[in-house]
Symmetry: C2
Subunit: 402 residues, 2 copies
């Protein structure tokens, strides 16, 4: 008998038929004698519908506190409906809102972080042998105001609960049946992994594999919560995410691309000491995350600095640089969004120095030019023209896995 936390996303509960599908999956495991906690997102388009309502009232500046009040109604609807479906199947169940389930968060409305889960109420309900259905994505701050955790927040809710309840397993149900070495819709030779480590999963999540929310993987790693990514439609084992995984034959776990990249270049920058610090310190003040940085020496005692940020942060980055106009001498400032970051991830590469050159060889053979390179212990990323991104993933994947 185990305690299992199961998380279902909005598309899994989009209509009555799917709600019953989810209810059946839950009841199956409950009948085996397991204790079950379920975390659910808002139904299908509910969140978008609510955002549209808010935009009708205030197109831009609705306060985040009131947005959280509005959006958290979405999960309230889905937990009630899922609980009703489980009742209809004849099993004991109770639905709980984020605050009823004991989620306390900080006060950053819209992007709140979970500070604690006071799981007393959940434990009481589990002791009464009830299936507990909990609204993901939401909590309560110290002023008793409702907060939301931001996109992907329901994954984080599920992992936080699994940690607080010391659950045996946290299952994240998605529309894919596990984690693949590349996007299986594009790379036919992509293989599903039985296991993957937290670190590898983190690199893949950051790279846009989009199977699991990054914060939830970080939290799972921190509290050592075993995750399983599996299909909400088919009944079969998924991919287990945990600390130590058996080394498999391949060095590389996966290859992925990320098109949400903007490449910003400051050309002909007057070369004075501390100039790079000045720029990136200002950019950090604008809350922009810089990814790859390239610095090169130019002519006449100048240099060029090129760096990448996500496209939605590029305006803020440009603004940050412009705010330095008075004290910064440069010839040209340019931004290029037609780039893509292609990466390979694998804990195995740490002890295998030939991986990078093998990747570059594959790209070179395909005639793809590399503009920037970034490496970590378990990841190699290259920046290339966006139009070659799919091809690049394919040839790199083939080289290592296919």
């Amino acid at each position: 008998m185990s305690l299992i936390v199961k998380k279902f996303g909005g598309s899994s509960v989009a209509n009555a038929e799917r709600v019953f599908n989810v209810a059946n999956r839950i009841v199956e495991d409950y009948k085996k004698g397991n204790d079950i906690i379920v975390v659910v997102s808002a139904q299908g388009d509910t969140t978008d519908d609510l955002i549209a309502k808010a935009k009708e009232i205030n197109p831009k500046n609705a306060s985040k506190r009131e947005m959280d009040m509005l959006l958290s109604a979405g999960e309230q609807i889905s937990i009630a409906l899922l609980a009703m479906a489980i009742e209809k199947l004849g099993y004991p169940v109770v639905s709980l809102l984020g605050w009823q389930a004991g989620f306390s968060t900080d006060s950053n409305h819209g992007i709140a972080r979970i500070k604690a889960v006071n799981s007393e109420r959940i434990k009481n309900e589990i002791e009464k042998h009830k299936i507990v259905v909990i609204a993901g994505f939401q909590g309560l701050n110290k002023y008793d105001d409702i907060t939301t955790l931001g996109r992907g927040g329901s994954d984080t809710s599920a992992v936080a609960l699994a940690a607080a309840m010391k659950a045996d397993l946290c299952q994240i149900y998605t529309d894919v049946d596990g984690v693949y070495s590349a996007d299986p819709r594009k790379i036919p030779t992509a293989v599903k992994m039985n296991e993957i480590s937290y670190d590898e999963m983190l690199e893949l999540a950051t790279l846009g594999a989009q199977v699991l929310n990054n914060r939830s993987v970080e939290m799972a790693k921190k509290y050592n919560v075993e995750l399983e990514v599996l299909s909400s439609l088919e009944v079969k084992p998924g991919t287990i995410v945990k600390e130590k995984v058996k080394m498999e034959k391949t060095l590389i776990r996966g290859a992925a691309k990320d098109n949400n990249v903007a490449c910003i270049s400051i050309i002909g920058l007057e070369d004075t000491p501390g100039i790079a610090f000045k720029i990136f310190n200002k950019i950090a003040q604008y809350k922009v995350n810089v990814d790859i940085i390239l610095q090169s020496v130019g002519r006449d005692n100048t240099k060029d600095i090129t760096f990448t940020v996500s496209q939605d942060q590029s305006d803020a980055a440009i603004e940050a640089i412009n705010s330095l106009k008075e004290s910064l001498n440069y010839k040209d400032l340019s931004i290029d969004t037609s780039v893509s970051k292609v990466s390979i991830v694998g804990a195995g590469m740490e002890s295998n120095p030939g991986v990078a050159s093998k990747m570059f060889e594959a790209l070179s053979d395909a005639g793809i030019n590399i503009r920037m390179i970034s490496t970590s212990e378990i990841k190699i990323s290259v920046l290339i023209d966006e139009k070659y991104a799919d091809k690049a993933v394919e040839v790199v994947h083939d080289k290592f896995i296919g």
Copy 2:
């Protein structure tokens, strides 16, 4: 400077335009220096849409606890949107759910009664000069589960708040501009009243005038909360409801009909002592409210008992009588739903014995047959054929007021 509680129903906030209309009404009074608390229902069709979703999952037996979880999301949406509109107009505002506003109720899900309003949070927000927008219709029971107050519950929420906060006035905004002596859409000579007493309003509410929910008027009477019924669309004074009102020229405040009546007859009942007690005691056990009762002597030591109940309780009443089958001897049991109750209400009639006969005269002149009569100190009701109901209201209204 006054503290005013304002209540707006679902149709008043049905879309963005109406939400802004309501926001403007609120801001007008706030700008005059008043403290404002607003109670809002769910938008237009939201409640019906949510009920439809529940019926898709479980057509009949969804638990009331989960129904309350589901339905209370409706007001959550409307308070957030109204708060956003007030923000957009540039005024300080905060929205609060029933539980955040301190509404504790008993545990009768779907028809919960308010036990207390812990108004600490509201007082804090008012001290910060915020307009406070509160979800009507909902509260929290002692288990921290969300409850709803049932139909018309938002009126009750508003009055309870006004009582707890010792508000100077509780304004109930509706789609009519006050309380009339009869339905103004049908009786062109109907007059709007400036003032009406709680007792008169209670009789009119019971009679289906449907301007104010009955429980809210009872609560207003109990805590001496001054009410105003007024239009949410036009800016003009409405009708004040309070304890003592100035006697106006007319004896009669209003005339109204109620078609939601079923007339049940037990014919040829064996005349043994205590038989009426036995019947009505059993009916009370089935939680059916009996309105008018008529008992007549029949032939051969039998009698007939005829009584009225609301149509939605008629099945339960019949069931109650059938449960006595073993010990009750009667010839026939019949039910007639093609009846209507027409009533006149007025505190003035108490000291004026001619009112009843004047009413009967008006009906007789119009050729309308009276089947049953019921009187109280401030009301006279007659049961007639439903098809004559509108005509009856018209002739009675004309006789006294028109």
